[in-house]
Symmetry: none
């Protein structure tokens, strides 16, 4: 994240290289504070103090505290869209929805996601990064389910894949943001029916 030369032939830039220790300490501190005090109570000063790091070191590498937390979040496996084949489009959909709704029922997770979404509204530039590194990858992973269904030949004459993604993620985020997150059997079934 925010690394320039990623290829193996990368010419080292001159000067002292970025400190891996500080990098890790910052992410670790951010994660701890996230759990302890919640998204909106995490501060740059707090992260710096906890990580034993100068504030400037954070500002040098992340434009915003939300970017730090986004990097923390991006490193978590639990946000991956489940990919295993359940045998049919409806089953895949059900598995995805069930996982997603359950995950967003977790207090800490819900707070984290809400916080990221809020920040993405307040800072346009972070909004771009949030969409690019978090939202879009998940849409793509969801598209894989649709693609698999098409390959299987059981893609129903429902909405287009793009609309399907909007409906699914829209419903998830809407319930998250209106304080009605969490799993709901009826809702999952209705969504599956609407999309198939």
């Amino acid at each position: 994240m925010y690394c320039e030369g990623m290829d193996s032939t990368a010419k080292r830039s001159p000067g002292r290289p970025r400190s891996t220790m500080s990098h890790q300490a910052i992410l670790a501190a951010a994660e701890e504070l996230l759990v302890e005090h919640g998204f909106s109570n995490v501060t740059i000063d707090g992260i710096a103090a906890r990580a034993g790091v100068g504030k400037q070191t954070i500002y040098r590498w992340w434009p915003t505290k939300a970017d730090v937390i986004l990097e923390v979040t991006a490193g978590k496996a639990e946000f991956a869209v489940p990919a295993e084949d359940r045998g049919g489009y409806a089953e895949d959909l059900r598995a995805f929805l069930s996982t997603a709704f359950t995950l967003s029922g977790d207090t800490h997770t819900a707070d984290l996601l809400r916080g990221l979404m809020v920040e993405s509204q307040r800072r346009a530039d972070f909004g771009d990064r949030f969409r690019t590194t978090f939202l879009e990858p998940r849409r793509h992973a969801f598209a894989a389910i649709t693609r698999r269904a098409a390959a299987r030949g059981d893609l129903p004459p429902g909405p287009s894949p793009d609309t399907a993604a909007d409906i699914v993620f829209g419903t998830l985020w809407y319930r998250l943001l209106t304080a009605r997150p969490g799993f709901n059997e009826q809702l999952v079934e209705d969504l599956v029916r609407a999309l198939t």
Copy 2:
């Protein structure tokens, strides 16, 4: 809004009554600043200064700057859900979606709605008021469309009315919050098909 004595037999409370002029000046100032600087750059200090009013006068009547803006918003007709009967569920749906998507394509409106949603995440108490006075009424208005369809007998075997509302408003808000608001023919048609 936030007035105590609502019943017709209301005994006048003693002391100086609330100043209508200040009330109006505050709402007007808030609306101006909203247009000029955008939701997140509106401050209580700013409203007070513009309205020529003490800050306390604002805090006395509204718990939060978002509540002021919510009252400004509530006074606008443009957010009403279209109610006229188009002859069928699909047509009603299309009319509603088209209006809503077009409205949220307006920059100022989008900023306003995003701002309210953001604030509803940051202050649980405002969140409640936002849901009660803004989101829920619109869900109810939407339910009226479904109810009319049922009365007409053309309600399709689609998702339950509640899920339908989640899908419709979820998709609207999701696109608004991910910077993809505005009308989209394909999306509207797909939504109508998914819900019918």
Copy 3:
């Protein structure tokens, strides 16, 4: 008849009046920190914390931390030029020089004066205030000694009063700033001779 506030005293400005408690607490905190940590280690944050006061309250009333300390200093009697009549110009001069040199021999006092002089170099606006509220009053007090000598008729044909002030205060400050403060019999006698 009952007349309200018709007295000549200034008309109260509107709004909450300045808090005397905060004012005093800030000056007291500044003085304590001055003694404990020395001029250059006093910070606005430190004063605010010690005084239990918001930083803005300091910035509202003093442009610079040096102004706070200048006000602390201005309130101290020890910096007054001794005024009692010793009977002759030479004796008055000796009394003044001896007091001044002895005073500047005190570590805390020397640090304080050096700090003020340093700050007066770094911020032109504070420099003006320092000269106006500290240096000039002392020059005037010194001039009183000369005036008294003239009245007495024993003013010698030495340098003009203004030059005398430059010589006396110049020598005092020069020795203070070159780390050679404190009383020195020979120096005092030489100065007296040069000025008489």
Copy 4:
């Protein structure tokens, strides 16, 4: 200045020798920045950037930015005390005072001297170096005037040579630091009279 091997039989120390180019570039950069932005706005980072040099290279050879500037200053002829014999103590004194007051009337020079004096207050170690390499040599040069007068036999029964130096330099610095530098006929004459 801060060079290790000074004696002519100096064994070359191992490793890469100090780069003369960097040395000169640093002094040149410091001087330019001094003129352009004034003493207090010169920073180590700024000098390093302008000189195209690493900060460490500066810190390796000078303890403080003030030491860099002190070396720049030391290289300037204009700060030399005029030494030619004017025929008498009073004339020598007048020549010296006139030169010094005129010099300190130059804006850049005054800023430079003030800056050095300020830094000498803030860093005790630099203060020592400032006194040793700048102030003391000038006192000695001034003493030469007194010595010449003694040799000539026209040394007046005024203050001791040491006090004379304190008075002269004290007055100069005092006027410089209180923003009243520059030549002043009356002052010069009064000083000459006081010292003779």
